[in-house]
Structures are given as C-alpha cells and as structure tokens.
Symmetry: D2
Subunit: 372 residues, 4 copies
C-alpha cells in the first residue's frame, strides 16, 4: 500500500530523528531554557531576517492558533478569517473556547481578500451601535490555505496594508509552510512572511518533525508574558529541548551540508533531488529540501492528472492535490493507494485528495500514476 492520505502519517525525517537520538542522554534544564532551543531560535530568526524578534515553540497547530489568538485578541474582539479557515471548521471551537468570536468572510479559492476585510471593518466602525458588536481584532490566514492555494506577494502586501490601516495584527498559520514556500509559481519568501505578518508559525509536524510548531514574531511587544499564557493553556513542553533539537535540525545549514557529504543515505529526501544546482544549495536547510521534495512529487502527480484529463477540484500549486475521480477509478485506486475523500462520495464521481510530504518516494508516485 502507498499512502497519500495526509502529511503526518510517518514519524520524523531521519535527520531530525537522528538528532533526537544523539542528544537523548544529555541533561538540560526544562521548558525550553536550554541551549538547543536558544540556537534553534537564533537560526530561525536569522533565516527570517528578523533582528529583534522572538520565537516560541509549541507542540501542535490547534494549540498554537489558540494561544497566539488568545494573546492577540482582547476579550471582546473577534478574528477575521475565511469561512473555510481551519480555526473555523476543524479546531473544535478552540478559539471560541477562549471567549473570542470568529468573524467569517467568504474565501476566494480559500483566500481572504483585503477588500473584504476593508469593507467589513469600515462597516463595523461606521455603525453607531458597534459597541454591541464584536470588534475585528486580528486577521488570520493560512499559507498555504486549506485548499492548497497560495497568496501572491502582492496579495500579502494588500493584506498588510489593510491591517496597518486598521491596526489589525496579521497572523499566518504555516502548518504546511515548507510546502507553500516551494509551491509552484510561489513568489513569497520566508522573509516576506516574516516581514508582512505580525506573527506566523513554521509548521514542523507536517514538515519533518515528530511534532512542533515555531511561532515567529517581529513584534514581541504584542506577546507580553507569553510564556505564562502558554503554560495556562497547558502548552508548555517539560522537555522543551525536544522542540529546539528538532527545529535546529530543520534550520541548520551546517547539519544539512555535512549530512549530504558524509552520510547521504541517512536522508531519503536528498537523494532524489539531484537537479538542484550546487550554488542554490549553499544556504539550503532541511526545511527547504523537505518542501522541494514534496512539491516536485506533487507537481509530477498533478501533471499526470492533467495529462489523463481528470478534472481538478481546484488547481493547487502545493503538496495537496484535489482531483475529481470517477467512482470506479476511485475504487480501483483504493486497492493500491490510501487517500482521503474530500467531502461525501458522489453518485458518479467524487472529489479526493492526494498529499505528498518529505516521506513520499518517487516510487510511490510512479506507482500511483501507473494506476491512474
């Protein structure tokens, strides 16, 4: 069986796991006050081009969204998001559990439009009775979105502009950030994400670690006493270094460089990406390579869908591919591959999703294509 269900079915990328094993018997202080965590934070801030920022490591995505928005929102604020946003649909009401309302706007291929934000906020402020309404207090988007789509740099800049105009913090959910940054046609860099958001998180769980998300902010002033709020949410990891060690592995150029030379076989991923030139690789980190690998295979798969004439539910440039399969094809494919229906099964055809990640192999994709 080959697996395309989702991007958290394996453990950690072998290089990440190796670092956990290597450091297992060291004694360090708890709660992320260790040297691994400090170094991981520095590597990330440097890579984001942030001078006076802060990084916080948490375990999972729902937790991360809840804790960040709890801090950014006042008790009587709401957060603007698309109606399909993960926080609105698949986090069991975690934001509302904080006491905050999600103010939904329509998505455009899953994306939030700056003009919709402006209209909502202007309407709010022009309403004389708005003290009885929930004030928009922050903006939440995902990169990539729930539908695998990407904001262009211009779109992000427009969002930034409207957020500046109305003093709204912009928070970006980067659960699949590695796959977004390497998405086909993407013109947004990690530095852009860091500069245009007030806070965002670099997803680890779906991009190479056992678990872990790195909240990054160039605005530490927006996060007073954040360590305490994290604890209040039960989100403080006792052995905090586990997060530091893993993110250090993802963002340490030296580690990847040395690994490629000395121990190439430790990394399934690197072997199959020979077409990347040396000069580009000079500053590469594992997080990049993971993104590249999954996107290359996802695009190969998409091309095969196109060639065979399948209808796409949406054109996604990232590691999630949404295609509409005739039901007989769906059933026959399910004999060799595991993947998810995207919504209920239709009468004659059904939308399904194929997801690649760092653990997907060329052979997996070729076998899937052979069965299309």
């Amino acid at each position: 069986m080959i697996y395309f269900d989702t991007d958290y079915m394996e453990g950690a990328h072998p290089l990440v796991l190796r670092r956990l094993v290597e450091t297992n018997s060291l004694h360090t202080v708890g709660y992320g006050r260790d040297a691994f965590t400090a170094r991981a934070k520095k590597l990330i801030l440097d890579r984001c081009g942030i001078d006076n920022g802060e990084v916080y490591f948490l375990v999972g995505g729902t937790q991360t969204n809840a804790v960040v928005l709890d801090r950014l929102l006042d008790h009587n604020d709401g957060v603007l998001a698309t109606d399909t946003a993960h926080i609105n649909v698949h986090e069991a009401g975690a934001i509302e559990s904080n006491g905050n309302k999600i103010l939904t706007l329509p998505g455009h291929d899953g994306k939030l439009a700056a003009k919709d934000i402006r209209e909502y906020v202007e309407t709010f402020y022009s309403d004389a009775t708005n003290e009885f309404m929930v004030r928009p207090g922050a903006v939440y988007i995902s990169f990539p979105t729930e539908l695998g789509t990407l904001y262009s740099l211009d779109e992000l800049r427009e969002l930034r502009a409207v957020c500046d105009e109305f003093r709204l913090p912009l928070y970006i959910d980067g659960a699949r950030l590695a796959y977004g940054l390497k998405g086909e046609g993407n013109d947004v860099t990690l530095r852009d994400i860091a500069a245009l958001s007030d806070a965002f998180y670099i997803g680890g769980t779906k991009c190479g670690t056992l678990f872990g998300e790195a909240i990054v902010t160039r605005r530490p002033d927006l996060f007073p006493r954040f360590a305490s709020l994290i604890k209040l949410h039960g989100a403080t990891l006792a052995k905090g270094r586990l997060l530091g060690v893993q993110f250090e592995a993802l963002f340490d150029e030296a580690l990847l460089a040395e690994t490629t030379i000395d121990n190439d076989s430790a990394s399934d991923t690197s072997a199959s990406d020979e077409n990347v030139s040396k000069s580009e690789k000079c500053c590469e980190v594992l997080y990049d390579r993971i993104g590249e690998h999954a996107i290359r295979l996802a695009m190969k798969l998409r091309e095969a869908f196109h060639v065979r004439g399948y209808k796409m539910l949406i054109e996604s440039p990232t590691n999630q591919q949404f295609v509409i399969l005739p039901n007989d094809k769906l059933d026959s494919l399910h004999k060799v591959a595991s993947f998810e229906l995207w919504g209920p099964r239709g009468a004659t055809e059904t939308a399904v999703r194929f997801v690649t990640d760092w653990s997907t192999t060329e052979e997996d994709v070729d076998l899937l294509i052979a069965n299309l």
Copy 2:
C-alpha cells in the same frame, strides 16, 4: 557535573526511544487511531484491572489536569485540593482559565484529608445561601504529592468513601506515579489507584517517555465526547501513535523480557537492579523497573543524609528528597552537583531538593554522597 534537579532533564529511556526509532518510518492514521495506541491502551487497562474503561493519551501534565477537570466539573463547580496542589500553585491558572475555582483545603504533609473534605462539603450543603457559593464538584489529589509523600491504602479508601458519599469524582494526578508505586513502605498498587479513583493519569514525561501522560478511567460515562474536548484544548497530538508507541514500551511485559535477555546493555536501568528476584520479574514492565531504580537510589541518598545527621525538610519515601543544608555545604555541593533550592536561600541554611529518576546512575549517587 551530576544532575539531581528534576526528573525531566533527559530524553526518553533508551528502550522507549528505541521503539520510536524502530517505528519511525511506518505510515499510520493520525490522532491516536492507530494500532500502537490501541495496544498500549489495552496493556494499561489490563494492568489496571479495568474491564470497561478507557485510556486517553495527552502530551503533558498541566494540559491533562486542565482537560480532565474541564470535563468533570460543571461550569459553576469547583475542585477541592490542598493549597500546595500543583493545579493551585504551578499551572499558571489553567483551571481558573476553564472557569472553575480551586477550593483549597490545608494539606497534611501535602495530603488531603477525608475529614477536611467532609467538613467542607457538609458546611456547603448546610448553608442556605450556597447557591451563591461555588459547589465542590470534584476532588484532586496527587500520588505522590508535591512533597513526595504518599497516601496509604487506608487513606485512599477514606477519600473514596467521602467521595462516594457526596458523589464527587476523585481524580489522581500521577505525574510521578512510577516513583510513588515503588515508594518505600507504599501499600498502594496500580490496581488500587485505578479502582479507588474515578480517573487518574499515569505520568510518562517524568517516568521514561519523551513526553506523554495516560489518563485512565473506569468511568468512561464521566467523559462524554472527550476526544472533542481534548481537541478544543489544543491537546490532540497529530501523530498520536508517538504516545501509543511510548506507553506500549512502558507497559509491554514481552518487550522488557526480551530486552533483558537479548540486549541488556540497551538499558542502563536494568543492570543495576540485580537484587530483584526472578519470580517477581515475571510480570515486570519497564514502568515498574523505572520506579524501582529511582527509588532504590533515592533511598540510598536519604540514608546517607540520615547517617550524616542532616535535617530533612520532610521524610519522603519517593524519588524527591528534601533536605536542609548548611549554606557552606550547599555551596560546595553545587560545584559537583546540580540541584534546586526549595524556596528562598536562608541566612545560614537552606532547604534543597534532590531528585532521582530512571536516568540517575549509581555512580551519580555515590559521587554525591562522597561529597556530603
């Protein structure tokens, strides 16, 4: 340097880590619906002697306490606990963040007394204005307590009786349960804990895993829709099998048996516990061995304190030892060993804490004793 600061300074017990490595490249469904998790639950329930119970795996202790008490308490209920309880002092207000009050009672060597509960509850129900007061809705204790002390079986039975009388769920925080069960003079078994509580948790983080706590209940009826509540709290681990794999390692007799024979060197712990007879070991699991190991070393240390005439802050039969050191001794010891002050430094002497765990070696303890 030798480390006695706390019991979460290392990674995972080597046998636990080995299982994570062995299973790393397998694909499984997420959120704990995998076979490892299912097997770990079964092993735990069997060992607890529970037929129709349930096990839920979470990542950390504060999170576990918050989620369990959120379920057990109604919106306008409070939880009875000692004033020194971890939930009252060191969890950043997580319980209050749920909207629930902690109703504190005095501790007796850190323990909650059944008679104090009875008096509190009877006073509450006899007060004609109690609709304006917070109703006691559950009881929280720790085994061992924050001070390293243990409830006797009789004490637990008294707590059970008063809880039955007033229909109060009894919840036991077992962050250091392994070290409590093997505590010197302890007459309480895992089965007793399971039978006398409504819910409790088996601590993994301090007892051998990278992270993870196993909530065990013989009363699943008290936990309706609990998976959803866990998600709402941001406490659902995407790669849930990581918890299953680790707890399976802690509670699998077969794993330990085979390991002892085939690969003794993989476990630092086993080597030093030769005085345990074979027959006792027939049903031993790693969780037992971890407890035994830490307690044997803690008792060796305690004996040394006694022999040298140091005052103990409290007589603890578990892996935390609280001793009062003259300040010059404290300073000289700090040159060879890392350990925590227990409260502020005194003028001439200071209370300190030494903690042993599965990673503490005989050599560490001998070196510490040599410097006393």
Copy 3:
C-alpha cells in the same frame, strides 16, 4: 416630536409602575424568594399550560440568552441560529464569551428552516472527523425574528420535530413576544410556544416593564443548579421581587379587570382599544393588551405605507415596520418624528424602521401618517 425609534424608550406601563409604587415600602426577602415572585411564576406557568415547569426572572435579554445557552450547551457544543440572529450580531460576543460557537445557517425572512437544521446536523454526524468540529447542541430562534417576521405553527412544529429527532433543545428568544403573539395572521399561542420549545423567555423590557425577562421552561431537568449559574453570570437581582411584582402585573387577570373598571385612566393603552369585545377580554391580561395595542397601531401604519405606495423592506406583521423611504421624504419626516435608519443611508432612498409599543398613541400614528 413623536417617537418610533424602538420599544424601550419609555419607563414602565403605568399599571406596572403603579404596582411598584404600591409595594415599595414592603419588606421582603431578597433574590426572588418572595411571595410576589412566587405568584408571578404561578400566573405565568398557568397561562402557559405548564404543570411541572419553572420560571426564572432576569433583568435583560442579552443576559438571558447568555445564561440559558450557557446551561443548555456543553463546553464543546455550538448553537444553531440564523446569521442575522440577535445573539450572532448584537450581543457583543456574549455566547462566545461563554466558550460556545454560534453555528450560523441562512435565514429565510429572518427565520430558521427545519430542513437547514436537518442538513447541517446530518452532515455533522456523517463526518468521520466530527470530533474536531463543534457539535450542534441547541437551536436558537426568535419570535418574532429580528426582521419582525413570525413562524407559523406548522413551522414551529417542524422545528420541534427536527429538534426531537436530534435531541436538540429548542430555545426561543421572546424579547418582543407580546407583539408576536398579537401579530397579524399569527396562529401561534403562548401555550404553543411553551409546549414546542424546551425553554423560552417572555420579554418584559420591550413589553411593559421597566426591565425584566421571564425564562419559562417545561423542562426544569435541563436547568440544574440554575440559580447558581445565574449568580455566576452576575444576573441575580438582589431585590428580586421587583421582577415578580412587574410580571405579576403583566399576567394577573384580576389586576387588569379591576383596573379597567375602577381606574381606566391609569392605562393609556386600554382606552384606545375599545373594539375588543367583552367576551374576549374575560381572560385578558395586561401582556395581551400591550401586544394588541402596539400591533393595531403598527398595522394602521403599514396600511398607510401600502396606500401611499412605499416599498416595504420586508412585510412584517408585528410592531416593527421596515419601509424604504426616498431620502427627501426621510429628511422631512425626521423633522416631526424620531426613527432609525435600518443600515446605511442610500444614495436616493434608505431603509428605515418604525416601531410601536404600548406607549405609542393613536395621535402619534396619525401625525406620522399625515406627514407621509
């Protein structure tokens, strides 16, 4: 100036105020444990045809909705409501502040459709990942709706049926219930409301009292320890009898009967409703009369709009009339009458609202009509 802004611009109906004055110097126990409150509860339950129910008096509507839904919903439940529902738009996030999500469905002239509920709930329960979604835990509707429209008896029965099917409590916001029950063409009685809902509230603030809403339920089992929850919400009135006295005045047949004979001039309202036959009046209470009075004047006003050919924003059979006025007419009318714009001012015409209540006089309406 004549006032049609809203239905809470005056104090209390004179008969209600008179009772407050008459009882002012009596000493009673606090918190609604007095005899006035007991009698008011009985009058209401009798009139609702409820044998074993309960009534709770609170001060205001937002508070009432928040406290009731806090009790009906589990921590990880949401409440189904239309997107225009008062709780969704104009209560400043009070429901989310409780930790609960509002699950919005499209309104049909402001009304929630049973089929939309069924579809939502069925979709929820058929989703294998619904433990990560917010469960629909109750249904909220208003009678009349925000747009002044009314559910027919058949529509309410369909809602009841779908609520029964999925075990969802049905809660009806009756802020303007008096005006709904007497609405033109209405076929729903107070007893229907009581029988078809699990709980509802009889609005006092907009229907004759200084303040006060009466929560009525035929399902006290759904409201355990409710007095305590009310206190927790800060919604317990110390001098609770003030609520009892006012609702007693609204629902006491004897008071109205005697008043009509002895002291007709005390009631502005009664004087103008001479066309109600004696036999119908035999069981009339002030709450009925207040409703009739406001509706009669609202219908007179609506007829005038129709006759003059104004476009109605919506056809409302109740005390709120929504009409679209050319801007020059709007401006000239504003010189003699006070009323609210319904949304932003348009380029050439604007939607406005005219509201009648117990305090509106025939002269007010005639003057308004003369200026149309």
Copy 4:
C-alpha cells in the same frame, strides 16, 4: 415584625422612586446615552473631585465586580483579596468564570494589609519559575468590608503606595459605601476613595435605589471599550436612564434641598435627623443622608448591646452589627424581629447580624432595644 435582616429588603428611597415616577413617560434613547445619565455622571464626578474620569452604571454588585475585574485583569492575572472577600465567597465563582484566579491573603478584621500585598508580590517576582504562577494583576478591597469594618485613611494610603510600587490597580467595592462614609470614626471621604483607588463603585442597591451601582474611575485609560465589555457580560440595561435617574436623585443637592423645604414628609429619613446642623447640610445629598440615618440607628443599637453586656463578634462602626446572643435571647427576639444568624447556630450562643438602612425607623430600633 421589624426587619434587620439586610439592607435590600425594601424598594427604593421615596425620593428616588418619586423621580422614577415623574420621568416614567418621557421618551429617551436607550443604553444610558440619555441626559439623566449624563447629568448623574457629572454630579458624581464633581462630588468625587474627578476632572477627567468616567462613570459607568450597572445593575448589581456581583456583575459590577466581574465586569470591572475582567477589564483590569489580563487573561493570566489574578486579583489579590482577603479570603473573606465577597468575590471569593459569595459570588458563585464569577471571577473564575472570567478565567481569573483570586489570590487570597488573610484578612485583618476583614481588611487587606499593605504589608501582606508587598510580601506576596515580592515573593512572586523573586520566584524564577513565576511564569508558571498566576501574576497578581489587581487588588480588591471593600469599603466597608464584609465584617462592617473600615480602612483608615492611612491604611488606604498604604494600600495605594504598594499598588503604585507594583503597578497594581486598586479597586474598591462600595456596595455599602454610604454606610462606610458615615461610619463612626471614619476619616475617609468620597474624594479620598476616588483619589486613592483606580476604580470603585458607589453602591445604590443597598443605599437607596431599586438597583444600580455606579463604577467611578479617574483612570478611563484602564477601561478601553468598556461599554462593549459590559454588553458582552449581559450587563447593559436597555432603559439605561433608570440608573441615571436614580443616581441623579442620590447625588443632586438641589433635589434634596428643595425636597426638605417643600415636601419634608416625602422623606422618612430626613425627619429623624434633626441634629445635623444647617451649615453641614448646605451641600448635602440624599446619599449622605441615607448613610447618616442608618449609622445613627446602628450606633444606637450598638450602644444598647454594649450597655446590656452582650459580646460583639466584631466592633463594627457601620450599619451591620454583629453580636453574640444567648440562644434563648435569640429565640425570643426572633418573635418580634427578623434578622440573620451569622454562621451556624451554636450550642448555647450564636452570632447574629442586625442591619440598618435608610428604611429602618427609630421605632424599629427602639422596639428591638426594648426586647434585648
């Protein structure tokens, strides 16, 4: 029967009620945007000597405490209060329901000591792990306290100093403020309360109104978007002018002056306080007179207890008198007077409470004394 149970057994002071009746048929805008409310705010601020402050009117005390502290406290803050504080004991967990912990300190005759605050806060800030503890974020006291005692001006200044030192807002619960300000030996004025607190409330419910509490602050910067938070708590009164009208009556010198001359009989209270000199009365308002009246009678009663040799539970200079009665005396007194036990009935003697207020008459007190 004569009543000494508590100070909210009657309706409103006749002068307050008269104003409600006089203004009943006026039309005003809702939610406290009316002219009565504006004038009442101005009268209060002037009397408090506050130039750039703000007043907010709410309905009841528990609500007021919850809303104010919700604003003053960050999500992960707690409020310092005595263990006997009303918010800690008799508000059903309203503060915890906001998500905030009450950090209790021992009371000294019901009063919080500045030195205890300093010690607590210094300990907190010196603890290296305090990010896992609840930060003290505000201080709550009552004037008078739950036990009827009063802070001296020096004590309040010490509290102010420690609050300034640690940047803690000081909030004073003035549910019975009228009776505190006129308390025997009191050296604290309304202006002192206003200047030394960051916010406080002037209790109306127990001091002359039907209901209502006036939050006063010289620090509006601490209360951003407070109207919206009030609404979120369900604490916004639709007919907000009812609060304005009542507090205007309590604080309008003109009203009282004219009333004393023209219509003395309208006020039970004024008649019995002839010993107050004219010059003092020049600036008197009803709130003063209500306080004076109740205190004069309470002191007369206390003197009688002293003379007859009864033990006092505590020496209270305010309108609540706590005395220990032999049980046979308690039983005989209960035949003529209604009053509350203060705690459970003892074997031979029992603590009881007698409360006077604006409605207590000289005859009531004389009759009680005659039966002592």
